[in-house]
Amino acid sequence: MPDAVRIQLEDFSQDEEIRALQATSKRMGGIATFLGCARDFSEGRAVSEISFDAYERMALPEMQTLRSEAIARFALLDARIVHRLGVVRAGDSIVFIAAGAEHRAPALEACRWLIDELKERVPIWKKETTPEGESWVTPHP
């Protein structure tokens, strides 16, 4: 099974990630997931694709730290984070987070916390391709 935290060019399977998470503990009573997708419309413009750049030397360790922090902070049984790089077309998956806990509340809270922290702390940048040209995305909530 691939690592629980990954940055990769290729697409991922949500089912495989959830199966891998579930296999880590039979005490897991709730799994919450977040799937970030490439939208075909942003800031009033059509978007055909999104390309990503990352400082991988910092990004992967930061994502591993986030996973460890989430496990400790929300008493998770396990968590997984996968983020794609390269070029992603509108409608494709970008990022997947899965958090497993004994009960649903910490799983849901951890999932929200993980994606919010990832956006703040992981050095990845995205550029949208529109009919008017390309533009880097400005962070927003």
């Binding site: 030397r57 990022v95 992981v122 050095p123 940048w125 995205k126 962070p139």
Partner: protein, 79 residues
């Protein structure tokens, strides 16, 4: 030598993703920033974060060892 890397919007505005700065005794992160900001003000107007050797560095007074890897970054937009 200090290796300085750039990514995303900063790299695009700079027109390159890597350059080198001669190391000097007592050199601080702020010194490298000041030096490059004077040469590339447009690119550095986007910079709000820095990393040294793969670690986010908030203290711009930190001393840099020779052969350090420094990154000046704009706000992140992954996810």
């Amino acid at each position: 030598m200090i290796t300085v890397l750039f990514f995303g919007p900063v790299a695009e505005r700079l027109g390159q993703s890597r350059l080198e700065v001669a190391h000097q005794a007592g050199m601080r992160l702020q010194d490298v920033r000041d030096q490059l900001q004077a040469r590339y003000p447009e690119a550095f107007s986007l910079v709000s974060l820095a990393a040294v050797n793969g670690q986010h560095e908030r203290d711009f007074a930190v001393a840099l060892a020779d052969h350090s890897e420094v990154v000046f970054m704009s706000k992140f937009s992954g996810g």
